[in-house]
Symmetry: D3
Subunit: 134 residues, 6 copies
């Protein structure tokens, strides 16, 4: 296995297609990138497909400029019978020092689904929790 | 003036470019569309530019299929000195009856900004509230 | 029912992805947005799916700058046995005053289709006309 | 010089991102591709930048399926002092025989502009016409 | 038949959506456009569908600015039993003189496939070669 | 510092917008994703901006289906005075087991540039090599 279950890192460059008319990352694009991270974090935890059921609070601490490297990290903070909570933290990475400055924080509730996209119960999920979270 | 200040309606068709691999609207795309609605609702209320500071809870009640008409309505529920809360409600519109079924609900906190994208105080905002909300 | 049959309003923000190298809305993007409006106006009138058969004259009165709010309104000016004409009018909305300045005007001929995208006769369409246009 | 002034050929593959929910080329995407062709045809004729002022009648003869090769040809049918008319003809190319079946026809009025996007008079355009059209 | 088998020309305008944060064509977008050209060149030679098996060396001679006309030409340099090599040359076209300056060069190995995307043997390909390359 | 200099990992979900008409990842999109990885790997090594100068051989071992998790890993194999070679390896990750199956391999030559996108000499690059590669 690679790293902790449910913890994935996405890296993205902010290109003109992601920006608003201020030349910074459009809030809606930030949410889309965080959703993709939450999807991949959830999929990694559940080892199966997931869909989004709820987006909890998301904070935008600072504008993200065109050309920035944006690093998104996930971890799973809660796992129930059929749903789980994926926390996503987004940081701008300084090009010269690689220091990370947190600009985005949010949590997303994902639901495990079968191949047709219908919710499914997560027998194996409970074990996964006791194994890796507790 | 047209309608209540801060209340705008967006209509969108769900095209393949908006879908995930289940053939339904990707959650991240839903959030992007809601963000655009919140931006336009905030801009309409403030009569100036806004940026997103916080996304409150967003609920996804049901999957939205390819080809659906998605109707997004906004209203402003709170307005402070420099920020305001825009509620967004997204409905799938039945093609035959035009009945609306609510599938998305969320709220977004927007901040008024000047031409350079920096936050600005909202002297005129307070009046707008007393006029139109209270 | 909400408003007149076939009359829908779309609102869009002009983002960098919509612009040409002059920093204004690309003509082809304007036509794409008007087509989406015509599709939704036609769908609303027919209460079923439609495809575009013909784009009549479209006028571009003025360039539309990055960051503009673009408001597109439709109405149905003609309805035949299986086709109908949807007029689309696009305006830039002044952010401070919400005044609308017309920048785009065009008309689109849409044809009613069944679920497989094949044209279908419109028995109910004739009634719709006598009811709401005449 | 390569070919007749103002005559360019664009070739495109219809990918999922261009389609509507019927799995065929969305009418708005067809107009966008034709606009790009008209822009390039006008630029080639004028030997300078152009913007779209008017879209004349465009006919959609048949749906264009996902995966099709779409060939767009332009020619200039009229050139005035500062504007010109670019005709665009779009054909689906049969993969096995390379035979072309016309599916799109339209004309676009383009205006010559300077580097800032402002209309400019076309002294040299008149000569170009007498040379190459008449 | 139109021109030499396997030789196609694509023309594209560099729009903001194709650029990086330097305001020039993003290298990845250049490769995507060249891939589309290689696909169309291969399809034209094989008279059937193809997929990419290998991208040979691609050289980027100079940055391509926003608003440029980019002309991509293909020719087939090698054809085997089931695969072929498509060379792609990309030039920026000067707007005033239509002179071409080569900025991109690469070659792509394509494999003939059936309708399901599976590789297929190319009996007719050998004949095509003796006919048109040798 | 986090991990080896120049080694970054990108994760992507294959959505409909990335696919061709076979329902698999379009080769050109694969190259675009690999280019983004090479850009980020180069930026991480150089601690400054880079542009692509050359794409070496890229192999496509297998089609990548819609909905796949695609993992792209980079490492720097060569660093000169002003340029460096970034190797990119792309794997499909099995959702159930998280096992990686290599589907894409390529190398990209990147050049260090200043803020205006012009090449710059890399005094500090030589030290970086002796420190971390040798």
């Amino acid at each position: 296995m690679q790293g902790t279950r449910g913890s994935v890192r996405l890296i993205e460059v902010v290109f003109p297609e992601h920006t608003n008319h201020y030349g910074t990352l459009f809030g809606g694009q930030a949410l889309q990138l965080m959703s993709k991270a939450a999807f991949l974090g959830g999929r990694s935890f559940v080892r199966g497909d997931v869909v989004m059921a709820r987006c909890g609070e998301v904070l935008f601490h600072a504008p993200v400029r065109l050309g920035s490297t944006l690093v998104l990290d996930t971890h799973v903070s809660r796992a129930g019978r059929s749903s789980l909570t994926v926390c996503v933290r987004g940081c701008v990475q300084d090009v010269a020092t690689e220091a990370l400055a947190c600009v985005l924080e949010g949590e997303f509730e994902m639901v495990a689904v079968d191949a047709a996209g219908r919710p499914r119960r997560m027998a194996r999920l409970a074990e996964a929790i006791s194994e890796e979270i507790v």
